[in-house]
Amino acid sequence: MDIGQVFTFSALGSQFLVGLSRAMILFIVCSGMSFVLGVLRVPNVAHGSLYMIGAFAAFSIASLFGGSSTGFWLALIFAPLVVALVSLIAERALFCHLYEREHLMLLLFTFALMLILDDLVKLTWGAEYKSFMAPPFLRGSIPIFGSPFPRYNLFLLIIGPLVAIILWLFTNKTKIGKISRAAAVDREMVGAVGINVSWVFGAAFVIGCYLAGLGGALVAPIVSITLGMDQTIIIEAFLIVTIGGLGNMWGALVGSLIFGLTQAFGVLFWPQFAIVFPYVAVVIILIWKPTGMLKSVW
């Protein structure tokens, strides 16, 4: 392979956009995980399963409408809500009774939730591959930098910053967002001023899970939806929130960008080992700064 051929401006540019759109999906999922980590201080192991449920639910809703545009939009709205509902039930029925216990128990609870949800997904949707098409106006590709770029990825590039802005507005401008940020820093004090900490934790958990579902619903049209998809995303999410700084939303964004871009450029330089590049980047960052790039909330 000729090096000069690979490093053309258009190839670099389009790979950059591919990496960016991948980073947007990762960001949406990881911001949810980071949010839960920041407020509850628990790595939500079930996050990947909720992402998977989001994708499967989006498939079901979209196929109800036979792949039309309406089906896609409804899937995008309702699939994350299904996930939020599942997490709300789990949280209010079981999880909320454990907040006083030690963290290890909370972690093991989310693990139990993951085990149960994975098998419930298998029971509900079966073990076969599922896939559905994006609506007609998001299919195909348009030329950018002289090479074709999928329209759906462009759509992701719009959605990602939108989610980031909404999250920023939510955590900085609304009351519950401010309370949850305060709970992340000093939960005793939040309880002392008369706020029901249990509800704050519950809300944070459900919002985090909603974001996992949103990520799953967004990614559903461009991947094959399978039972194993939770395992890969959860490892990536763990790595991203760690390199970004635990509980830091912008850390999740930075981490996702690093992860997505190194993977995309890795495809260009060394296709067989593309997956290794993000991991190498993670190792370098962790050796350089074991506590993550940005300040952790705890």
Partner: protein, 319 residues
Amino acid sequence: MFRNIFHLKSFVPIVGVFIVLLILPPIIPRFYTYIIALMFVTGLLAMSLNMVVGHGGMFQFHHCAFYGVGAYTFALILTKTTLPMWVGFVAGPIAAGFVGLLIGWFCVRLSRLYFGMLQISLGSLIWAIAFRWYSLTGGDDGIHGIPMPSILSSLNCSYYFILIVLAICLVGIYLIFKSPFGTTLQAIRDNPQRCEAVGVNVRRHQLVAIVIASFFAGVAGVLFVVLEKSVFPDLLFWVLSLEILIMCLLGGWFTFLGPMLGAAITVALRTFVGIYTEYWTLILGVILILLIFFLPEGVLGYFIDKFKERGINAMQEEK
């Protein structure tokens, strides 16, 4: 020293159990021999994890990384080199201990939860290497049919080998548990600030504990290869690490033999439930939730508590 540690009263039943385990294999069917050997391997892994989690109070979230490193080192030495088996047997645990030192060196500097998160991340990197490096580790297929010397090729022989190594390791872990180092570690778990104040080097103790636990996890990994004659990336996967945590919880964190019991129960349940249904993980999840809510001190911990309560009640009645 030994007289204080090994009481004759507790010595007799242990030797009894050991003799029963020695004469079992020729009597029971092969399948059960295999299951018991698997319980030993998993139990040793759970015991080694409990050294840091139960006795040390650290969030060792990715213990299987060390288990897998031990297993892979042993398997690679047997398949890729012509070195004799004992070299692999020594190298496996040492490699695991070395990886434990590397990962632990970064982790002990951080707060407890960050410790756990960083460990999951670094452990996942090792998993990614094993999963992707096809030419060395066989990628997601792993390595199967690892050639064993003739003394370990039959199931009964590997059973005895595993049993003897397990017995040595348990004695070792027990001695560490009862040694000044072990008691200091438990003191650190209960109150790190105070330990720091009386002049204990908390981080160094924690790091040494991680290295020792990784070493024993590596031994368990080697034993797994002896039993199964294959390795695969699932050995390093974080899901297995959390399953081992469940075993510790199930048996009892703060007891010595609890993790062994938890591992035995889990392996037995998985085997026999697996015959009837493919939804084993669903059942495991439900068991775990029940455990968290109703039996947080574990099966053995529960019985020990009951026992103590009865003793206290009896003493009060005597008065």
